[in-house]
Amino acid sequence: MVRVTDQSVYKRRKFIAGALGLAALGSFSTLRYRGRMSARAAQAPSDELTIEEPAPSTSDHSPINLAERRITTKYAATHYNNAYEFGWNKSDPAQRSGDFQMRPWTVTIDGLCHRPGTFDVDDLMGTPFNQLEERIYDFRCVEAWSMVIPYNGRPLRDILAAVEPMGSARYVAFTSVLRPEEMPGQASLFSSLEWPYVEALTLQEAMHPLAFATFGVYGDRQLPQNGMPFRITLPWKYGFKSTKFIVRITFTEEQPPATWNLTNPREYGWYSNVYPDIDHPRWSQATERRIWGEGDITRMPSRPYNGYADAVAHLYLGEKKQYR
């Protein structure tokens, strides 16, 4: 059985949530749970933290089980990647990531939070890898191709809540690893990107239940080309927002920089939500080429927020252009 998240599910979810809501009135305590996240860093012995689930709202969107859905083949999703750290060719990440060391891997969480620290990636998972939640998300690249991929992980907000963001925190910045000796694309002289790769979300976006801390795809964690050992997945945004190889998460008050936005602000907005009617200056975003497998490609219309509008549109009020 797999866990999926898409529009039809969401509608069903609303119905189920309503029914469950009635049933749960008498037992509100079931909405709370205790999460564990152990810290290895000496300065942050946050070995047991209580995570309080945010109050459920109608806009809350959690994935639920659904019958099988067509997904992209693992070969396609692991041999057609954008990870400029390994090179700009789609085949580079699979071919040129052989030297990449995925363990040990620690993630420093700092900035405006009460329990900063450096955590081992295995502790961030919270459970053994094979017990992580699996979610099937539509993944939409800014280059107008898309795939359907099963991700293994847990909601990002579980991790963020555990370090207790301060009231003043408004943004969450993500920093990727900098290892030019293991990542040939970072050593390239012709790249106009600054390394390490940085990205950021508003705290509200990062705490959204769809934002997914990801430790593997297709049940496989040994895939640097897909951003492992630790990335985030944000299905309603263009793929480059879903930062790979994360080594640092920082809570800030000011809007942090984002690599593609810095490189070319005219072409890549800071929010980078999927809006089919707002074109990239060099190509249209109205349609996408859905890659199902090698040479198995269908053209289809793109959807606002990549099909997750019901779940996330409430985060973006007013003129859409400012959230491009």
């Binding site: 700009w88 191709w145 002289l189 200056p281 060099r282 080429r289 890659i291 497998g293 040479g295 053209r299």
Partner: protein
Amino acid sequence: MIRLFVHGACATPALLLLAGWFNNRLGVDPEKTLIWESGIWTFNLLLVVLLLPIVANWTQWPTLHRYRRAVGLWVFSYATCHFLFFITFLLGWDLARLGEELRERPYIVFGFCAWLILVAMAATSNRAAIRWLRKKWRVLHLWVYAAAGLAAIHYLLMVRSHYGWAGTYAGIVILLITARFIRVRKRRTARDG
């Protein structure tokens, strides 16, 4: 013999792509591979066309001049495939969108103009046209340098972040145009002096 070699060499990339397409060896996104490779080979052969007179000069082998038309027609064929692949795979023959893309996206305009020049050159590549156009024919076919310039810009505008290859191609085009300019000047001073 040389003619056979020239056509064989020019046809090789196309045959490899064709074989790759049918054997599923063009990667995860073969459509994109076709668009990309047909464009790159258009450019490669275009550079060969521009290099031929220079090499003919260096090697004192004037026969080479004769193969400009053959290679030039291959350039036109690759460019036409490139354009057809683009319309088929990226636009799905939505020609209304082609108009829109041409209006809004400069890299397509540059590529399209380069292709129009190649069309004009291919259409006038026979003896009858040479006889009919006379002096104008030479001027028309000098536009190949403009096509190369447009192609270089077309490529540069495509790049998302790695400018290495596109920059190299643009550099070669600039060198070739400069070389042509110097050649004409030398010839003129030789004639006038």
